[in-house]
């Protein structure tokens, strides 16, 4: 009912171009990231490089991927830890 009144008295919801822009933004994040698997591999190697300064990780088990959520796109990294390095405590 409110919906109908809203339509009679003016704008029903956000202008449709805003919806178009938001949908495009999300789909392009994913499109651009999936263009090259090499890109993800590169990120994975660099992430491993940084993490191993602080802990021992199972390099074979590291997974880096792009996930589509409802309203956002996330870079998800799964990094199994073997052992913490003692030196970290000093920080």
């Amino acid at each position: 009912m409110l919906d109908i009144l809203g339509r009679v008295f003016g704008r029903e919801e956000a202008p449709s171009k805003e919806i178009a822009k938001e949908r495009l933004r999300l789909v392009l994040v994913h499109d651009r990231a999936t263009v090259s698997p090499q890109f993800l591999e590169l990120i994975k190697e660099e992430v491993i490089g940084v993490i191993t300064n602080y802990m021992d990780v199972d390099e074979e088990g590291v997974e880096v991927s792009i996930h589509n959520m409802e309203r956002s796109v996330a870079l998800v990294a799964n990094i199994p830890i073997r052992r913490m390095k003692r030196a970290v405590k000093a920080v």
Partner: protein
């Protein structure tokens, strides 16, 4: 030495062929010597849009496979002195009938003699696209203000950058000012924001495009067409002139038409 410009888009139906025909005609009217090269093998259309379909003897594949010499296959458009030529696509072959190396050699030969070689690229990102961009110095990516077309344009821009295309510019086609005004169509800034490349021009939706295509006469020949004016402006920008973007007001009401008649409008 001339310039090879590929007109591309990814998505079909956004106006690549219309753009190629109109920009080529506008450049010819500016006394530049132009070749229009239809790279859409198997689905040729530039010939009908230009109204030259009855004059085809040889085609692109006849040239690359050595059946005829390049000069024999070029159709001279008699409406534009010695300025405009068409090299039609083959209709009975497929995209693999030509290789990127052959296209490079062909466009190099053409640009040695002509000022502009405009290549009408097929839709898609496969071999036909690879062929069409092979010898190009510049790419004009055509899109419309719709999510599907903008998405495909983004993909094409990525591929052009990966193939180290020296210059990539965007042409926004079929924009409808009245829809933009009420927020129901993405505007120029929205699209540039998303795609982040240089803009070469914006062409408004115009019924006259359909009429001129029906007749086989490019719309730039119509002095009253808004789309024709936009294409003429883009042609001038291609030659390096600085031309401001046309004001895109909503469709004219009666009073605007009267004002325009007396020279007060744009």
């Amino acid at each position: 030495m001339g310039e090879v410009i590929v007109i591309t888009s990814g998505k079909g139906g956004v106006g690549k062929t219309t753009t190629t025909a109109n920009l080529g005609t506008a450049l010819a009217l500016m006394e530049r010597r132009v070749v229009l090269l239809d790279a859409d093998i198997g689905l040729r259309n530039l010939d009908v849009v230009m109204g030259l379909e009855n004059r085809i003897v040889y085609d692109l594949v006849d040239v690359t496979s050595g059946v005829c010499r390049l000069k024999q296959a070029l159709i001279k458009d008699k409406r534009f002195n010695e300025n405009l030529f068409l090299l039609p696509a083959a209709q009975t072959k497929d995209k693999t009938a030509v290789t990127p190396e052959q296209m490079k050699a062909l466009t190099a030969e053409l640009k040695a003699e002509y000022d502009y070689v405009l290549v009408d690229c097929p839709a898609g990102i496969e071999q036909g696209f690879r062929n069409a961009i092979a010898g190009a110095d510049r790419a004009i990516v055509v899109t419309t203000p719709e999510v599907s077309a903008v998405r495909d344009a983004d993909r094409i821009i990525g591929l052009l950058e990966a193939s180290e295309m020296p210059e990539v510019q965007l042409l926004i086609n079929r924009i409808r000012p009245s829809m933009v005004k009420r927020g129901d169509m993405m505007d120029i800034d929205d699209i540039l924001d998303i795609l982040a490349i240089d803009l070469i021009g914006v062409v408004p939706e115009d019924d006259k495009i359909v009429v001129s295509t029906n007749r086989g006469e490019p719309t730039v020949l119509d002095a009253n067409s808004r789309a024709g004016q936009a294409f003429r402006n883009i042609a001038r920008r291609i030659t390096g002139e600085q031309v401001p973007l046309m004001a895109l007001e909503a469709e004219h009401g009666f009073m605007e038409r009267v004002k325009q008649l007396f020279g007060f409008g744009r």
